[in-house]
Symmetry: C3
Subunit: 159 residues, 3 copies
Amino acid sequence: RSEEMAKSTQLIDNEVFRAYATYTAIVLLKMMLMSLLTAYFRVTRKAFVNPEDTASFGKGESAKKYLRTDADVERVRRTHLNDLENIVPFVGIGLLYALSGPELGTALLHFRIFAGARILHTLAYLIPLPQPGRGLSWVAGYAVTLSMAYRVLQAVLLL
Amino acid sequence: RSEEMAKSTQLIDNEVFRAYATYTAIVLLKMMLMSLLTAYFRVTRKAFVNPEDTASFGKGESAKKYLRTDADVERVRRTHLNDLENIVPFVGIGLLYALSGPELGTALLHFRIFAGARILHTLAYLIPLPQPGRGLSWVAGYAVTLSMAYRVLQAVLLL
Amino acid sequence: RSEEMAKSTQLIDNEVFRAYATYTAIVLLKMMLMSLLTAYFRVTRKAFVNPEDTASFGKGESAKKYLRTDADVERVRRTHLNDLENIVPFVGIGLLYALSGPELGTALLHFRIFAGARILHTLAYLIPLPQPGRGLSWVAGYAVTLSMAYRVLQAVLLL
């Protein structure tokens, strides 16, 4: 049993891996927040997509009018999809990067810029801020992931 | 060579990690099933989105009428996207959770509730069941992931 | 410190894991390329979705006409979403597979077919090639992931 515990806590004792775990949890929680925001806007804007979701508003035409798109709901949904498109590569490449033995300071710099960039991206998308606010925050996160991928391929390349 | 094998099977010998691997494989396979279902509904409902996909139905207008949306196809696609939005955080946070050394029983409880909740969510979405069936199954999976994220941040926090 | 480094480079010294890391980085970078392609087509086709993205084209109606969908943009976006739906299971199941101690040759075969299939899928989708080009490349990647999932469940099953 104690041997098992030792095995399981091995990676988690590594500081770079702990930093990776911290920032991955943060950006995935931030992404999950988009689901709640979508639900919030659907309910407050009364804009649904599934007929069964409007059943509580009555039957027939009185409920049907709530099956519609809403600009705010669609905006949150785009933010959510953009998170998926960018956070999935970060989580996958970041794991490999964390295991490739980078310096803690360098790794923290990558993780902090990525997390900060994605939080700014969400704010820029939802407020919304004038461009190039959203564009630049997207580029920052993208560049961090490219930098980690370069380091990973340098460390492990086996085709 | 044998040393390599030992290294590679190290994590896989840990019971919590084996449980994580089992349930992650199950929920990812469940998500992959959505692709097959989308294809099935596109073919049976004759509702396609790419012109090259309708070429076998003939040329010109006779094929063009199959470039349309269908309520069942769109419903499966929403289920698939909801899986992506929820299973990606489970896979990422669940891995960190499994490595943070939880009790096997506690970990199994988390993984089983999540997998069960997502299977129920898919059934509730596709049948469809009246609300709050789908809503509650979504909340159960979401809550499990939040609980794992809390444990991960408690165990590893390194900002 | 050196002990930490040793821990962190342990997995990365395993050849199967290095192969997994290489191909995972490649397919995630390929997926990230879809973001750049979407941006390229949005700018060259002048087809945007957010009002703040068209502000540089002037005010009022002169900018509003660029808030529209474009067939090429939508095609790239479908390719991107298809990548998410298929590369996420590969990255998750592939990690578990790499840790389950497969032969290096077998693992490389899986990873190479998957990466090749997804690159062909993108080309088939964007050129576009006549069917069943895209369909077959999709099936190849899907089958590889199923094969890895089977091996994972065989090796770790703990319900």
